[in-house]
Point group: C4
């Protein structure tokens, strides 16, 4: 009798479309969250064009944080969407792994703003790296879980190829991020610069597109 008993956990978390939909919602909000920080400078002291340009330029750190946050979110959103291109089933565990992924996505605008405010502090780089590292861990677990439980729409050789490509990407990217974070013991700007270069490369795919030719 116990074997025919349906538990709630067996029926929860099966709607792949819902996981994608709430994911897109959280990403869309995270992408715009740092825009809320960019306030129009209001000052009695702005009388000339030069005053206004100067006031605008003081927004540079916030504009940089917004752009950096956009790059990172874009990279992880692309990764999330790429996995769901092949995932066609789900269970409650995959559902919760996906929710934890969104948890770390939702905090990314904060850790980015924290870094942009304290660029000379190793602790700020550590927190930012930790966020990216946790995202990497969760998205890796997400794929492994889906693949091992046969939730994918692909099989055999194609599955092996896609699996290799996705896992390799996460491991290489995380190694580069970790290396970049460690550079902070030499110089924090060097560390941030290296991480941004890695992200720009993943956004624009300079190196990969050359290799494909």
């Amino acid at each position: 009798m116990q074997s025919t008993h349906t538990s709630y956990n067996e029926i929860a978390g099966k709607r792949v479309q819902r996981i994608e939909a709430i994911g897109d919602g959280v990403f869309a909000i995270a992408l715009t969250l740092l825009v809320l920080d960019i306030r129009v400078p209001v000052s009695e002291a702005i009388h000339t064009e030069a005053d206004l340009i100067k006031a605008f330029c003081s927004l540079t750190p916030k504009l940089l944080a917004w752009f950096l946050s956009f790059l990172t979110l874009g990279i992880f959103w692309t990764g999330h969407a790429a996995q769901y291109h092949y995932i066609e089933r789900s269970d409650r565990n995959l559902n919760w792994i996906s929710l934890f992924f969104l948890l770390f996505i939702s905090i990314l605008p904060f850790t980015t703003a924290f870094l942009s405010e304290y660029m000379t502090f190793k602790f700020a780089i550590g927190i930012y790296w930790l966020n990216i590292f946790l995202l990497g861990v969760v998205i890796y677990m997400h794929w492994r879980y889906a693949s091992r439980h046969d939730f994918l729409s692909i099989q055999g050789e194609e599955k092996a190829q896609v699996q290799h490509a996705i896992e390799r990407r996460v491991i290489i990217a995380q190694s580069l991020y970790a290396f970049g974070a460690l550079l902070c013991f030499i110089n924090t700007y060097l560390s941030i610069g290296f991480i941004i270069l890695v992200q720009l490369n993943y956004a624009f795919a300079f190196i990969q597109s050359k290799r494909r030719k």
Copy 2:
């Protein structure tokens, strides 16, 4: 002639996909609402790594509220999605029950933040519990209504099994939350600790996964 008259209430609230879409939107916003409260600490007094770590640690209550809110929202979102896995039709009443569910979801970040600010007050636990209780009542009504009006995609034995699993889950969870809330008359931290343990269990399914083996 009156019998052939179509009333607005007969044609409203039929779009299940729309109810799911607005639901995902409200959940996505609620999940990120408490992130808005986590502001980068800005202070003239931050000069060393130790200062920054200290400033970061002062954010702990807000980070806890964000995590607690995430757990609760994740649990109810999974429940909402699990119901709509089986609900394929709707009418205006189910539509409005679903909207009231979203009403109580939208206020959850506030009641969570209220609790995290006043952890030693019975009233704060009462408000937080009331919110979770109302969510439980509405999601229970939601399922009963859909099931009684034959809006489900399943029939017979399967329907009975799923129905039993969903209703049992709500009743057990609500009993545990009510017990946890009552613990505040002994000690408020005990009460909060118990509620968080219940939520962690529903997120990670420790007990259930053991039972299934």
Copy 3:
């Protein structure tokens, strides 16, 4: 040659699903916008349960505004979704009518908060009524346009029935709102009370469900 020329306006605004998706997004945000106004009361003077209850009660106007805004948004969202249950095609004009509907939806949390702050002022009732009136005008135009341009999935008798139900609902509701707004010349609380009763009725359908029996 001019007749074979395709203009941009002929190819724009055709994606009904996109109009529904952006609609659900704007509604979801509008539903949660007033929650941002409900801040956890922080005060050095809160020492006892009674202090906290008193501080919580001071939030009542904001909680009322949030609930009132929810009712109104729920009513119009249900109306919008009911129309798109039957609309299966679109053009750029319907697309823009829908966008203007969302324009007035996005401002509704503001006009509601404005009313809840200035409940004894005729001007605040006027602005709130104007918002609801404009929503009524646009949603009426929206349906008429879709119906006249044959964008519906229904025909003949069914179309006539649905058309009658939708148009009748808008006209009766708007007449009641206008009557309610005019009551402000007697007493503003009478006016607000009447409008809330109308909205509660549309949410819970007391009168209609009696009639259907």
Copy 4:
């Protein structure tokens, strides 16, 4: 062996529905972002209807910014949706072009608010124009890329017609915006007025609808 190797970049960015979904999310948030700036005026000095009307009128610049931002966002959202009416496939490059489009959409409420605050400054017009120009460049690149890589659902003559209509629209609109921006060297109000007229025309299609008769 290298030719059978699947790279991550070949499997990323293929989900057209996801790109549309995150797009609708970002647009919905951008549409409501300026509403957050319209705060209910709270003042001890408001005693009469005349006081309240005066306080409300002081919100006019913010209401104008909200309306102007709505028009611009509506125009670009319609353009984005019109392209995806024909785009049925995607790759990682198109995915990233689309994300950069959303980057410039997310900042539009800021540049609009900046302009509405500093209407007499050429620099504010320059920044606003730059935002619209970048949106035009990215949406043009987006279409060209999709068309050249054969991601469209249309072929032959129909493709040529649609292509011509979409590209012509972007080029004419951008020429008008650039002309409007240059008018700021005569007078900034003239410049803003001209840009608003162009946008109103694209929203209401006065000129086009006349031509079609």
